[in-house]
């Protein structure tokens, strides 16, 4: 892995860490969600610094170049994140639907009571 790539990875990881912390302070990101990104960043920094570990894993698993191993890790990480996000969206969707149903039924009940009073 070239020095340039290692430096880029380290810099990007540090920037993403700083962004996460900033957003948590602004209450725009929850700590639970930020932890995943922080861990991802730390993993990248770890892989950039301890090249030996990466090379050992890459040869052991039969990768042609250590950098490919790093890419595979990043892609796997992103895929898992997208999957978890998808689950979350579905859950939120169901919750909003339940709320909408609740609102509709309540509105109906209120209207009925109003009509009874009017009569």
């Amino acid at each position: 892995m070239s020095i340039t790539l290692r430096v880029i990875l380290i810099v990007c990881s540090i920037i993403s860490c700083i962004l996460c912390i900033k957003k948590i302070k602004q209450a725009k990101l929850k700590v639970e969600n930020a932890i995943v990104w922080m861990l991802g960043s730390f993993l990248l920094i770890f892989m950039s610094i301890f090249l030996g570990v990466v090379e050992w894993c890459a040869t052991g698993l039969g990768f042609e170049a250590p950098v490919n191993f790093v890419f595979v890790i990043i892609i796997a990480f992103l895929l898992i994140e997208v999957y978890l996000n998808n689950l979350k969206i579905t859950e939120l969707n169901e919750k909003i639907k339940d709320l909408a149903h609740h609102i509709a039924i309540n509105e109906y009940k209120i209207n009925n009571e109003k009509e009874k009073k009017d009569e």
Partner: protein, 232 residues
């Protein structure tokens, strides 16, 4: 038996009055209109006529509408819930035939079918219907002649299934699920009209998506529903 007619309506200001008077004239069942946040005056028309209407604050589609109707039926102790389109295609005079099947023949779901006695015409739409029929037959060995029919009556057991499982939709794949759960489904011959006003929601692209969804759901999801043993 308490019977509720669920009338999902989205942008049906021109059809809804006719539909409800048809229901009132031909049946003595309760009804509830589910206004799925229509952009036109459906809500105003309903309120003006003092119809029973549940108005959703956001548009969530037919599935959500039927689920809301099922929740309402469940909460108010109805024994039978009938799904009945608000666009004037369905005729209320056939509803008592559906209810009769549930009351006397002990079926769980009665479907108003256009094609028990009559032959299916050859159109793109009916080709889709044939494919879905075939898929249902391959997975459950049951013959459903009109799986996409929107006129269906559900008994208490089916209503409870709808309330308990948010993934159930008023679509053919749910029939597979119900059959796998050992529920009985029977079809009754009915006639349907062409819609007079408004547009159907099926465009070519949506049709393809719909078919893909149905096949995926029937073969890979509903087909793997665990079959309950008899008598449990």
């Amino acid at each position: 038996m308490k019977t509720l007619i669920i009338v999902p309506a989205y942008n049906e200001e021109l059809n809804i009055e006719k539909t409800i008077s048809d229901i009132k004239n031909n049946t003595n069942y309760d009804y509830i209109i589910i206004n799925d946040c229509s952009k036109d005056n459906t809500k105003e028309v309903c309120l003006k006529n003092r119809y029973h209407v549940l108005s959703l604050p956001v548009n969530y589609g037919l599935t959500s509408g039927i689920q809301l109707g099922m929740k309402y039926a469940y909460q108010n102790g109805y024994d039978i819930a009938i799904q009945f389109d608000g666009d004037g295609q369905h005729q209320a005079k056939y509803l008592k035939d559906l209810v009769k099947e549930i009351k006397e023949e002990n079926v769980n779901i009665a479907i108003g079918s256009r094609f028990i006695e009559e032959k299916k015409p050859f159109s793109m739409r009916m080709l889709g219907s044939r494919f879905i029929s075939l898929a249902i037959r391959l997975t459950t060995f049951k013959k459903i002649t009109d799986p996409t029919s929107g006129m269906r009556a559900y008994d208490r057991k089916a209503i409870e299934a709808f309330v308990a499982d948010a993934s159930l939709t008023p679509e053919p794949d749910t029939l597979v699920y119900m059959l796998k759960k050992n529920m009985k489904i029977k079809e009754v011959q009915v006639e349907m009209k062409e819609r007079e006003f408004g547009e159907s929601y099926l465009s070519p692209l949506k049709s393809v998506k719909y078919m893909a969804n149905m096949f995926f759901s029937i073969f890979l999801i509903r087909n793997l529903t665990i079959r309950k043993k008899e008598g449990r």
